[in-house]
Symmetry: C2
Subunit: 153 residues, 2 copies
DNA sequence: ATACGTGCAAAGCCTTTGCAGGTGA
DNA sequence: TCACCTGCAAAGGCTTTGCACGTAT
């Protein structure tokens, strides 16, 4: 798992430690590329190895990694934060989300068109873009086939 | 205010009433096109006319209007929901958001490029888009001029 | 009469914070 | 030693719900 060294380096720069719990948390994300986990989900997964870990530790780790730009916090309009590996800093191309309103699954997709938009925003409105976020809400292929079900919320 | 009749029609379809409080709330949004108000902000504004209105009523109205697709709920990754008039259903063109990380101001901008993307998603992945959401995070012109300040969170 | 709406207070989530004890450098 | 980390419990913020009373049809 090559990416761990990069995590370690960023922690060191801030004089923070890679404790066993934090390592497990990062690995949970590295083992599940393209998943968007809530704090609660992460907690359940870490508990397999650290039975006594508390939510506070999970939240503190997620917050720390978010500040170090190792993780990224996302909201899908359901009131709880989710986290994913920040691929921007791991040199994989930026991606976006397809949120299915029937089954709740979140798919990803790649898109390059936005770079042009960012340039235009800087030129025409003086807005310097640091990050962007694009989400499509709708119904996924699988749900479209089943038909009939009711759209959530 | 022509749009109020459309609000009234949609309420009637669901056998819900346009009470004075609800009317005031809708007007607050109609009077402020392009603003993204939190429940708390709406509460403060309604209180000018209804001193005793409670947060519960505000939340229930916001929830109702969101379900009727008169308002739209948005999250800017700060943990609180904001609401804006759903222009999709009032036939004004869809717009998106520029969130300034220094001063917190939210600007809007128009963009048509996404329709092509939606077509491609349907064709290539069978994902039927109902709605989309595009946000750019960065620093606004005003803040860029002032320089120096620290970027939030 | 019936269904809907309101304000108040209480409860519910998700998340953060304070604290005492533990651990790594 | 010193700064950092952890689990627990308590507190915080935002939002929802239960209830009794009011109101429109």
């Amino acid at each position: 798992m090559a990416q761990l060294s990069s995590v370690y380096r960023r922690l060191e720069e801030g004089r923070r430690r890679l404790t066993p719990q934090r390592e497990r948390i990062i690995k949970i994300f590295l083992e599940r590329p393209g998943q968007h986990l809530s704090a609660e989900e992460v907690h359940q997964l870490v508990k397999r190895d650290f039975r006594d870990i508390g939510m506070a530790t999970v939240y503190r780790a997620l917050e720390l990694f978010t500040q170090l730009e190792i993780l990224q916090r996302i909201h899908f309009n359901d009131g709880r934060a989710r986290y994913e590996i920040n691929r921007h800093t791991t040199n994989v191309h930026r991606h976006h989300h397809l949120v299915c309103l029937r089954c709740g699954r979140v798919e990803e997709f790649q898109e390059d068109l936005l770079d042009d938009m960012e340039d235009r925003l800087a030129r025409e409105r003086g807005f310097q873009v640091v990050d962007h976020e694009l989400k499509f809400y709708g119904t996924c292929q699988q749900c479209n086939r089943k038909q009939g079900g009711r759209v959530l919320s």
